[in-house]
């Protein structure tokens, strides 16, 4: 099974070091890499760090902090793709890029510092992105003499914070990435802890795919021999030959005549399949296809929760929205609540704008667009805000208002 993991938490709490430790202890580091990093550390007059397996920009080494997200893969019981993300507020954009693909988040909290600004913000964002599996590593236990009471104290506070974001009964692991305690190998320095190591916890994750209604997004129409082939991907549910379908918002109905691949055909396509359809109608790029019995519904207004990474976003402002393969003109019709992305607290009701790094519940007015409630069909329940580039992202709370 492939599992995408993101390491989150405040700067210097040890995210990169923790991943470096996982790679090192699982013997996933290639030959000569350790020596290479030792040479580099000497050249730049730095102490050898496991983090340098991840931080490969010279600026990251010089500044001793992660700037951009890195993706690394290693094989445990599962095949893990791990995203390391920066812990600075200025790099939240890179953090979200790394976190958006995650199935599992590991929140790293340093034992000697406890909850800091990005601890809260990252946890809030992970919750907003709908990442269900969350674990906490209380890291740097070596700096507090591996004391149980320090761990308990942090655990209580972090558990309280996480509960406010809807995470309950979260597993906490006391560890030290630097010393290798309870990350890949079980530590003997904390006999009071009887739970799992981080790798055991990750190996125990079970991802389930629920059965959902069919949603197929149209990427393009190609002329192939004498056929008009509708190219796209099954985002949820399944699609079979003979199905009666509707494409929205184009509002064209038809029957699936054939499901094409480059070589051969399918009787049935499943979630994730990039396929071609030959149907008795012609939709457009951006359309969403569903069964007539359970069709996608286009909307002109929806309620979303979004985080802003650009300058500011004002009530009444036009902004491009992207969902699935469709881009539309939208408008910020109403900002219901401005939310502190560090704590999840409501800062203001009905404000006229929000600023960088703030979150908000917003009613968007839009050209006809198919969106789904995120909790129903996440693949079509998330959107990106565009204004000279991607400036924000969010999830759909209500597909109709």
């Amino acid at each position: 099974m492939s599992v995408n993991v993101v390491m989150i938490g405040h700067v210097d709490h040890g995210k990169s070091t923790l991943i470096g430790r996982l790679l090192y202890d699982s013997e996933s580091i290639t030959e000569g890499r350790v020596e290479e990093i030792q040479r580099l550390a000497e050249e730049y007059k730095r102490r050898f760090e496991f983090a340098y397996f991840l931080d490969s920009f010279d600026d990251e080494l010089k500044e001793e902090r992660t700037i951009d997200t890195t993706g690394v893969m290693f094989k445990g019981r599962n095949l893990y793709s791990i995203a390391d993300v920066p812990g600075h507020k200025e790099f939240i954009k890179n953090m979200l890029t790394g976190a958006s693909h995650a199935d599992v988040a590991v929140l790293v909290v340093a034992a000697e510092e406890g909850i800091q600004e990005q601890t809260g913000r990252h946890a809030f964002l992970i919750h907003m992105l709908g990442i269900k599996h969350l674990f906490v590593v209380v890291n740097k236990m070596d700096t507090v003499d591996y004391k149980e009471d320090v761990f308990r104290n942090i655990k209580n506070k972090v558990a309280q914070l996480l509960a406010s974001f809807g995470y309950h009964d979260v597993d906490f692991i006391p560890g030290s990435a630097l010393e290798g305690d309870n990350i890949y190998k079980r530590s003997e320095r904390m006999p009071w802890y009887h739970g799992s190591t981080l790798i055991q916890t990750l190996d125990g994750v079970k991802l389930s795919r629920e059965v959902k209604p069919l949603r197929f997004v149209v990427q393009d129409i190609y002329a192939v021999d004498s056929d008009r082939v509708i190219a796209g991907r099954v985002e949820s549910g399944a699609l079979s030959k003979g199905d009666e379908v509707i494409f929205q918002p184009s509002e064209v109905k038809g029957k699936i005549e054939r499901i094409k691949l480059f070589q051969g055909e399918l009787e049935k396509a499943e979630v994730g399949d990039s396929i071609g359809i030959v149907a008795s109608c012609e939709p457009k790029r951006g359309d969403v296809c569903g069964l007539l019995a359970n069709p996608p519904l286009p909307t002109r207004e929806f309620l979303g929760e979004a985080v802003l990474l650009g300058d500011s976003l004002r009530k009444g402002e036009e902004v491009e929205l992207r969902c699935g393969t469709r881009r539309v003109k939208g408008e910020v019709k109403e900002i219901r609540e401005k939310i502190n992305s560090e704590t999840g607290e409501v800062m203001a009701r009905n404000p006229d704008h929000i600023s960088e790094h703030e979150a908000a519940t917003i009613i968007f007015a839009t050209e006809p667009l198919v969106v789904e409630k995120f909790s129903d069909i996440p693949e079509l329940g998330r959107f990106v805000l565009v204004r000279d580039g991607n400036i924000g992202a969010g999830v759909v709370l209500e597909a109709k208002v």
Binding site: E31, L40, D68, L96, F262, G272, R382, N390, I391
Partner: protein, 266 residues
């Protein structure tokens, strides 16, 4: 294999997004395993044809087996091939002995730059993978390059879910990386599953094989007894040797790869 199917589905999705979003894309082909697999993914994405040109950057220093492989496959698969060369630099006799950094920049990056200018491509599809090199692990699927061809790696776009940033604005072009999420092992398992042609230099002769193919003066074989695809797959499951260990330009100095790539190297 479900894992390969997942990788392939995602790559096809990315290729189709690139084709839909850009006016004039092209795909880079080094003749190596990764870019050959990428050409195959293009055939799958577009149902049997590659709807844009295939660019081969010819430094003139490639192995002769690579030229032979290139010409054979281009003929056999029948795609439109553009051979890009920096003729000026070749005439001047630029070579790796005078410095690998300059040589790579002139014969590869600048050859590509000229080809882009002449043809007006706004997107380049490249077969780089995150697990090849730390600096490539930092890449986005869609990665814009500025007017000077440069990669502003300190300020990369927000790329969430499958929403890739395809705005060009003042950018020269966007790099598209459809197999960024594949591992070396995945590529070989895919080559095996799809029965794709690969250069015989990848297989061991007299205890040595090439893991990664580049220019003859700067590419070295590794110790290996893997003589077939099956043996290569088995070797990769246990090896601790880095894939690009036989590529000299990566190792000239610390951060050479970052500096090369910041200038527009692949």
């Amino acid at each position: 294999m479900q894992e390969l199917k997942d990788l392939e589905n995602k790559s096809i999705y990315i290729l189709r997004e690139a084709y839909a979003e850009f006016k004039k894309p092209a795909v880079l082909w080094s003749t190596g395993k990764d870019s050959t697999a990428t050409l195959w993914l293009c055939y799958k994405a577009f149902f049997g044809k590659i709807p844009f040109p295939v660019i081969h950057i010819d430094t003139t220093y490639k192995f002769k087996q690579m030229y032979a492989f290139r010409d054979n496959l281009a003929k056999q698969w029948g795609f439109k091939l553009i051979v890009a060369r920096n003729e000026e630099a070749i005439k001047e006799g630029v070579n790796p002995k005078d410095g690998k950094f300059e040589c790579c920049t002139k014969l590869k990056t600048q050859a590509l730059m000229k080809c882009l200018e002449e043809n007006g491509f706004d997107a380049l599809i490249l077969a780089i993978r995150r697990d090849e090199h730390g600096i490539r692990a930092k890449e986005r699927y869609f990665s814009p390059r500025d007017e000077d061809f440069k990669w502003n790696y300190k300020d990369q776009p927000l790329e969430m879910w499958d929403q890739y940033q395809s705005l060009t604005g003042d950018k020269t072009h966007t790099r598209v990386h459809p197999i960024l999420h594949w591992r070396e092992l995945d590529v070989w398992e895919y080559v095996r599953q799809e029965n794709l042609p690969v250069n015989p230099m990848y297989f061991a002769r007299d205890g040595k094989r090439y893991r990664s193919l580049g220019c003859e003066p700067c590419t070295f074989p590794i110790d290996s007894n893997a003589r077939t695809i099956d043996e290569v797959v088995e070797e990769l499951k246990i090896t601790k040797i880095a894939e690009r260990s036989g590529r000299a330009q990566d190792k000239e100095k610390a951060f050479t790869m970052q500096k090369l790539r910041a200038l527009g190297y692949m």
